[in-house]
């Protein structure tokens, strides 16, 4: 009889644990189906040179970070100095996708908040963004030498994410042929 009286408490405890775990997870973080898939192909004019194209083929053979940003994105302001410092201190090339923005505003924004990019593709209509499953700017993709997306950071990159996630992964990916 005593053991049976404990059953409701056990059920309650299991429920509490389940709900507690549920609370710690961020529902805004939708896992991308693109992880471990080839990076979607695109070719767009760059921000600085409307007649110059940049695209997925430029990433080939390198481990690159591909960062989706916009001048209207508030969280990007927080991220930009961190990303700029990363680009200065590490050899990993950082490319940008300027998502649903205006060219002049984007240029001005880069001047003000920092420009870590080798080049930024100008995705005015957001069509390339859809192909990459972008739903909340900023987003950052880590792409390996074969052009496979290996990791995606949703939301602003922090020093913690760089030190504990990106750098160890980049180091590993650099060793792959």
């Amino acid at each position: 009889m005593k053991a049976r009286a404990l059953i409701p408490f056990a059920v309650f405890a299991v429920l509490v644990v389940l709900l507690a775990v549920g609370l710690t997870r961020d529902p805004k973080l939708v896992p991308s189906p693109l992880i471990n898939k080839p990076a979607p192909m695109f070719s767009l004019p760059t921000i600085d040179h409307p007649d110059q194209q940049i695209g997925t083929t430029d990433f080939k053979g390198k481990v690159v970070l591909f960062n989706v940003w916009a001048s209207w994105c508030v969280a990007c302001r927080e991220e930009q100095p961190i990303l700029t410092q990363f680009a200065r201190e590490h050899s990993t090339p950082v490319y940008g996708l300027n998502y649903k923005d205006q060219r002049d505003e984007a240029k001005r924004w880069l001047n003000y908040f920092g420009n870590p990019y080798i080049a930024s593709a100008f995705d005015e209509k957001g069509r390339v963004g859809i192909d990459w499953g972008v739903y909340g700017v900023p987003e950052t993709f880590l792409i390996d030498k074969k052009g496979i997306i290996r990791h995606k950071v949703i939301g602003p990159i922090t020093p913690d994410i760089i030190a504990n996630t990106l750098l160890p992964m980049i180091e590993k990916l650099e060793k792959e042929s």
Partner: protein, 158 residues
């Protein structure tokens, strides 16, 4: 009085504007296409405001995805092709109705499992209670009772 009339006119104007914006302005070739469009944007989730579908959401991304659905319908793509296109980019989460597959079995079967569990518990509970209504007596008490009854019989017989 003229002020009231102006206010009333302004109020009426508000209503005409909202009525207009609610009307679907996309040009379709036929009714079937429009129905498919309406159905698809009901079934697809807006990833920015996650408890809304594409039809309800005013987010920029939702507008873009609605346009994408429209364009794909006009290109003659099937419903399944359009849904696959969205899932390829945004994952199963973009579907308001999650697909039945190994990772979602628990999600689909869970409520029925809980119902079954509740059913079994209820039956067990009722059975136990039915048993419990008989007065229970230990063997020792039973023996004592018999003895007392016999004694009583003897006493009354004598």
């Amino acid at each position: 009085m003229p002020l009231l009339r102006v206010a009333l006119a302004a109020l009426l104007l508000c209503f005409t504007l909202t009525a207009q914006s609610a009307i679907n302005t996309l040009p379709f070739q036929n009714n079937a296409q429009e129905k498919r469009y309406d159905h698809l944007i009901e079934e697809l989730r807006c990833l920015v405001c996650q408890n809304q579908n594409l039809a309800d959401s005013n987010a920029d991304l939702a507008k873009d995805l609605r346009t994408q659905v429209y364009n794909m319908i006009m290109q003659g793509k099937s419903d399944q092709e359009i849904l696959d296109y969205m899932v390829d980019r945004y994952g199963d989460f973009v579907l308001y109705r999650p697909p039945v597959k190994s990772t979602t079995y628990l999600l689909w079967a869970g409520p029925f499992l809980l119902l079954l569990l509740a059913f079994i518990t209820t039956i067990l509970f009722i059975r136990n209670r039915a048993k419990g209504t008989e007065p229970s007596m230990s063997e020792h008490d039973q023996a004592r009772l018999q003895k007392l009854l016999q004694k009583n019989n003897k006493d009354s017989n004598s």
